[in-house]
Symmetry: C2
Amino acid sequence: MFESASLAHHVNKAAYRRAEPKLREALLNAQYDLKQDGRFSVLILIAGVEGAGKGETVNLLNEWMDPRHIEVSGFAEPSDEENERPRLWRYWRALPPKGKIGIFFGGWHTQPIVDRVARRISSGQFESHIGEILQLERMLVDEGVLLLKFWFHLSKAQQKKRLRELEADPVTRWRVTRKDWDLFEQYDGYVGVCEPFVRKTSTGEAPWLMVAGADPHYRSLTVGRTLLAALRERLDEKAVRRLPDRNPPLPPDVDRLNVIRALNLDQTLPKKDYQKELEHQQDRLNRLFRDPRMKQMAVVAVFEGNDAAGKGGAIRRVTRALDARSYQTVSVAAPGEEERAKPYLWRFWRHLPRRGRLLIFDRSWYGRVLVERVEGFCAEPDWMRAYAEINDFEQQLAQHGILVVKFWLAISREEQYRRFREREKVSFKRFKITAEDWRNRKQWDNYERAVCDMVDRTSTGGAPWTLVEANNKYYARLKVLRTLADAVEAALGRIDMAGKKNLEKKKGRKRGDR
Amino acid sequence: MFESASLAHHVNKAAYRRAEPKLREALLNAQYDLKQDGRFSVLILIAGVEGAGKGETVNLLNEWMDPRHIEVSGFAEPSDEENERPRLWRYWRALPPKGKIGIFFGGWHTQPIVDRVARRISSGQFESHIGEILQLERMLVDEGVLLLKFWFHLSKAQQKKRLRELEADPVTRWRVTRKDWDLFEQYDGYVGVCEPFVRKTSTGEAPWLMVAGADPHYRSLTVGRTLLAALRERLDEKAVRRLPDRNPPLPPDVDRLNVIRALNLDQTLPKKDYQKELEHQQDRLNRLFRDPRMKQMAVVAVFEGNDAAGKGGAIRRVTRALDARSYQTVSVAAPGEEERAKPYLWRFWRHLPRRGRLLIFDRSWYGRVLVERVEGFCAEPDWMRAYAEINDFEQQLAQHGILVVKFWLAISREEQYRRFREREKVSFKRFKITAEDWRNRKQWDNYERAVCDMVDRTSTGGAPWTLVEANNKYYARLKVLRTLADAVEAALGRIDMAGKKNLEKKKGRKRGDR
């Protein structure tokens, strides 16, 4: 993998001086065309061995181009904020918008490699990080991001030569520390981990681009020209970049039965029973959220449902039970300008809660496979891949100890009609009903089909859907409250057990070690 | 994941009788159109729980369509032949050609699930199988295969009802054995493994298509209509199905140096020394291949190189050292008709050797990233993804204990000219030189670029490239022989160690168990 990058590549000063001004001008033009074009973002990953010119290259790119349209993110030790979110949160956070160039100095590759070199993670865990990275990079490419992954390399001999040279010069001697030589000693182990990593994460659409790091002129021209060629190729494309439809159609309806129609939407519940039980469940939820173990987890509750199914009312019955500092509600409507400029999951990643907190989504990422699918806002290949992307996303939350609880509030077509009419009549409810609601209603069957596919393809052991029969609001609210409280209670219980289990594992490992 | 498929779906007899003839006719028409069209093959995977109508569906599809253009492959316990090949060999072997429908009853999903349910493999190994499956399915889709994965499901209650009903009827009582009830007892464990498997292997292009298995009419119409819709969608497509170019360009040449130009092609070696050393290395190779440990491994040697670089001569020096029963040589030229009808790696998989043997490829799968790239026989996205596909392929060989040794024989442009001329002059060498050779020669620089990218992207720890300076034939042949013998010797050594290691592991596990 590192054959070419280990050679003594060299560009002399005169040749570099001739080439550089032209390259800079062309890069600057491309950067402005990118801004103008605005159809895609560029993400540059800077990776590789120490001393191979990674930092210098980042500085150079900023110098060569207009730094106002470049966003550099350096990733070192994660912050407190970051540590309380899933591993990939900080990279999502830093994704550049369309029209701009983002440079990640260090990235999602760094930690798994470092941890594997130090044997802090097993080869199985390393593989699982690699799987996560493949999913992420594929999603970015599918979302239209121009992803350029540069790997800077120095051979062991080149590495040694560099340290010796720095030491020999009194001006640069201070730059070489004991730690540098320690790292040098680990060179073989490091490259031994990097080689399979680079191989397994080099795909057709997101290949690692090798850069021989020893000669600054050669290195700079290589990066600059590769970036330029990639930008031009994409900018000069005539047709719209669109995935071909390679998806087989999902099975058609054969009988009239589906998971929604199988529900008995008309449940009954006397008001008196409702009020008593409401108080009980709210009290229960309140106590659960004040449990000290809650500090080790977080909860994300997703509310989806037919228009006028009573999502808002159900959410309020939940939040009323809680301390206002412990939850947040995010209402999801059509994406804003900033959100449209990022991959579609970005606007949900950004809200992810810290530990101990409840985050409520009033509508959510499932819009991708509901309204966007039905209304044709995204193409079939895009919503088809979304099921897997959403499952991956929710799995990452689960792995980080975030409990995901998902509700679909279902009402009948007749009940919806009744509620729409009522909203139109009652003046203080009129804001709740728009022409769009009536339009959506015409697509009833298509929405139902989309909901069934969604439940089938995203109801998982870790994050199951709860279907809520909601023609009766009392019944629906209680089912929501009870399900949420049950799920939180069970998750807190697992923390106990997980704690015990970890302890046992550690003991076991110590015993088995060496 | 199994929500819809657990419902009591039902189609009554009358409705089925009305629907069936139309569906059959449409399927038959689609099948003939597929044969006529000939641009793609269809692969149907039949998976899911016992008793959900998998076998019945396979029979039905054969009945509904023309069985002469359907290839059914049932995969139960692997045969001796299959056990001596990498795990995926038997599936590659059975891939249908373009224009036909292949049905896999059981497939690459079966063994990992069964092994995981029985705890014969760890969750890490299970994940790694899932990764392998994702790679394979993506490759098939990229190669244009229409992949339809049907998952047949029965809920636990449905499963129980079915067994009870079979037992109650004296005619069918014999069909229910103790084993069936044992399997039923394991239902929860089985589905607990299947659920994450189905989730993780459901992608946009290769989603699992859920089939409720309890009602035969419903099940049959679901499969038939899904198959029909998928066939028609693809057959009625106007444009050629082509991947968009989502690949960034590989780094351009910045200086004149590369891994080929870094070689000193003109090595010297007196004939006397050559003959003595030749004898020694051949003797050594002969002894290595007669080593009893050889029965636990196999060797694949790949020879690539410039035209007239001496591949044939080097191969003959290897084979002369060996018992004729222990090796096979495969000369790879343009693919034949049968080969063009399958994914491009098929024609290499088919030759994979049994244990104890050496398989020599005179040219190989690297044609994809050499001649096919340079001559434009395949599009950029196709050769770009080939690097990862080839690495995956070679890793699967390595995991199965097949040693892969790869040689690139390099001669200079001048030396090639000299050899071409000589071939034209000497009557018994004239067959070796064609107009194509002269044409290829004009593309010298493009080939060189392709070779460098190939080495950079496919020289891995497990299967490194050996670059052979070949202007001097004696030197080249000895380097080949010595490298091969060294690699085989080292691999045999690892078998010893691996044996010991395995033993230790087993002991350790026993001690740690329960």
